[in-house]
């Protein structure tokens, strides 16, 4: 897979585009009563279509919590959280399930059913849309796009780690979601497979104009980002382009070569 030239890094919104994620003064607490502990403090954030945004931060900074809130996997409590034009604060469980169907999820583990072939795993996502007739074709098409056309009828046990993660990406993308949330998608992969996976995501984001929000500690892939958000102790510490991010952090701590385009 060849590396795709990256568009200019910018946090400014494309003209006249509506934000796919709009966060305003979002607070979030774990626990109740005396044990109540705030994990997110007045987060405000806009993410736009076509952007790849990487969220970094030390563990415990609340980035996974923010990701699960945006993914409608938790109920937002205070503030405002609009995802794909829908306000999530105050929604019930059933409505959250509906919202989730419009979001593509990619996890650190591929979470594929060992009993299903690559195509069947992807078809499980297509079935959510009620498209039973065309599910096989849709699944094979998207597997072709992630370079696995030949492996459509293989079971996960017969695929390499990188291939499995690509099947998981195909599953996340098959319904053409406008928003993709990824949690350490490259953590379990070697360098080359990890690079292939993010290049693929970058490619698809540009082609389809969808927003990708990715939590990662993997410095090797920071260059694909249009923006890098840094979360520390539940507060938004910085929001900048990869170059600014590199400049503002101690150069010694990061491998400069990773950011040479």
């Amino acid at each position: 897979m060849s590396s795709v030239p990256r568009s200019t890094a910018s946090s400014s919104p494309p003209a006249a585009a509506e934000a796919s994620i709009q966060v305003r003064d979002l607070n979030y607490f774990f626990g109740r009563g005396d044990l109540r502990k705030q994990v997110l403090y007045t987060i405000s954030l806009d993410l736009y279509p076509g952007q790849i945004v990487i969220m970094t931060g030390p563990s415990g900074s609340g980035k996974t919590t923010l990701l699960t809130l945006i993914g409608a996997l938790r109920s937002a409590q205070e503030g405002s959280l609009r995802v794909l034009g829908q306000e999530l604060v105050g929604l019930g469980n059933r409505q959250l399930v509906e919202i989730r169907r419009n979001i593509g999820f990619i996890f650190q583990a591929h979470n594929l059913f060992e009993s299903l072939t690559a195509a069947q795993n992807v078809e499980m996502a297509v079935e959510l849309t009620g498209n039973f007739r065309g599910k096989r074709k849709q699944a094979v098409d998207i597997l072709g796009q992630v370079g696995l056309a030949e492996r459509a009828d293989y079971k996960p046990a017969q695929l390499s780690g990188g291939q499995k993660q690509r099947v998981a990406i195909a599953r996340a993308l098959v319904n053409q979601p406008q928003l993709i949330l990824a949690d350490e998608p490259t953590a379990a992969l070697d360098k080359q497979s990890g690079r292939d996976v993010v290049t693929l995501m970058q490619h698809l984001a540009q082609e389809r104009g969808c927003t990708i929000l990715m939590v990662t500690h993997d410095n090797r892939i920071l260059d694909v980002a249009d923006r890098i958000i840094n979360l520390v102790d539940g507060r938004l510490e910085s929001d900048e382009s990869p170059q600014q991010f590199v400049d503002s952090h101690t150069p010694k701590a990061l491998d400069q070569k990773m950011f040479l385009m």
Partner: protein, 390 residues
């Protein structure tokens, strides 16, 4: 194109585990079949002689509560009954217990002797009907080939002693044992019955043609059995009881009800069946719970991408139903084998009717559904947010 059959694929993915699961369910099915089988065999066996009786109406001593009670009634009641309109024939059946000497070990064992006039079609057993002439010879009898092994060889031509008198076996028939039959059954002619039982020792009860154990009435095809029973009950003296052979108030049903109500057989075997059922629940729960636990992150992912609890519930319940079917089939086959074996060893009647098979399947299904419903709670409580950061 249909929905991906996730439940089935998950179940059969790991062949070894799948076979173990099937064996588990089959084992529970076998336990339930065996215990209900023993129970039914004990009940069914009590009526297997009665089912062979060739008549529509039965007359017995009012005190003969069940086949175990050796109460006879006066034979003239049969002649009285014969005078009623609609009664085509009246036959007498004599029953007595006697000691049979095993020709090999020389040990005596109690057997039940059933006697009647061989010219009359009293017992609907083809082997016996074919030997009518041989039975009319003196000191002969036919022996039940399903008698217990304690009686020794059960063959034509055996010569041994019955009630201290020589007897020759002229044939075998197939009936089976019950609580009242001792170790087996002999059939002989009424004349021979008199030879054996008319002049027994002072401690034994003497028998003659004056008293009959069971009276059988053949009814004309045009007659109404129920109203005839009614008329006979009112017309005959009150020392006898007149019953139709079949039906819910009939002679056969009465005998069965006696054993069901007055013994602890039902309680004991129902308890054992329940235990088989509970063992099944635990086994199936283990199987389904392991499946859910092994695929926890995959199920959570399904929830994350927009599947609801109802779908996941459906998957686990489908697995339960598939297990119930696939485990039931081998369980049924093995049980059928054991039924044959049990019938051979005990002489009891092991019947596997469609209704009983259906009942056990329903039990199996309920068993799997209960396990599924408990196991599924694990998935239902899955918080999809936890898939992140795993």
């Amino acid at each position: 194109m249909q929905r991906t059959p996730l439940a089935l694929l998950n179940l059969i993915h790991d062949r070894k585990k799948f076979l173990t699961s099937m064996a588990g369910v089959a084992f529970a099915v076998l336990l339930m079949f065996l215990f209900t089988g023993f129970k039914n065999a004990l009940y069914d066996s009590q009526t297997q002689l009665l089912e062979k009786l060739n008549g529509e109406i039965v007359i017995i001593n009012r005190l003969k509560e069940n086949m175990f009670v050796p109460r006879a009634f006066a034979r003239r009641r049969l002649y009285q009954a014969q005078a009623f309109d609609g009664v085509d024939g009246a036959y007498a059946l004599y029953i007595s217990d006697a000691r049979w000497k095993n020709p090999d070990t020389r040990k005596s064992r109690p057997v039940r002797v059933i006697a009647y006039n061989p010219s009359e079609p009293v017992l609907a057993i083809p082997e016996v009907l074919a030997r009518e002439q041989d039975l009319k010879l003196p000191n002969t009898a036919m022996i039940d080939s399903r008698s217990r092994a304690e009686l020794g060889p059960l063959e034509t031509g055996i010569i041994t002693e019955l009630a201290d008198r020589e007897i020759r076996i002229v044939g075998t028939f197939s009936l089976g044992t019950d609580f009242a039959s001792g170790n087996g059954n002999l059939i002989m002619s009424d004349q021979n019955f008199l030879r054996f039982f008319a002049n027994r020792g002072p401690e034994e009860e003497e028998r003659s043609f004056a008293t009959v154990d069971i009276g059988l009435l053949r009814v004309a095809p045009s007659a109404n059995i129920d109203s005839l029973v009614q008329a006979l009950s009112e017309g005959l003296p009150k020392d006898v009881l007149v019953l139709p052979m079949d039906g819910p108030t009939g002679f056969i049903a009465r005998e069965r009800t006696y054993w069901e109500v007055n013994t602890t057989i039902g309680f004991i075997f129902s308890l054992l069946t329940t235990m088989g059922f509970v063992v099944g629940i635990i086994l199936v729960y283990q199987i389904l719970y392991t499946d859910v636990a092994d695929h926890w992150s995959e199920y959570a992912t399904l929830k994350a991408i927009g599947y609801n609890n109802a779908y996941l519930f459906g998957v686990v319940i489908q697995e339960a139903i598939i297990l119930s079917v696939l485990g039931f089939i081998p369980g049924l086959l093995i049980s059928a084998l054991f039924y044959n074996l049990g019938a051979g060893v005990t002489g009891l009647l092991f019947k596997m009717t469609l209704e009983r098979i259906a009942n056990i399947y329903i039990l199996t299904l309920v068993m799997c559904l209960i396990s599924g419903a408990v196991a599924v709670r694990k998935v239902q409580h899955t918080d999809p947010a936890e898939v992140f950061g795993l």
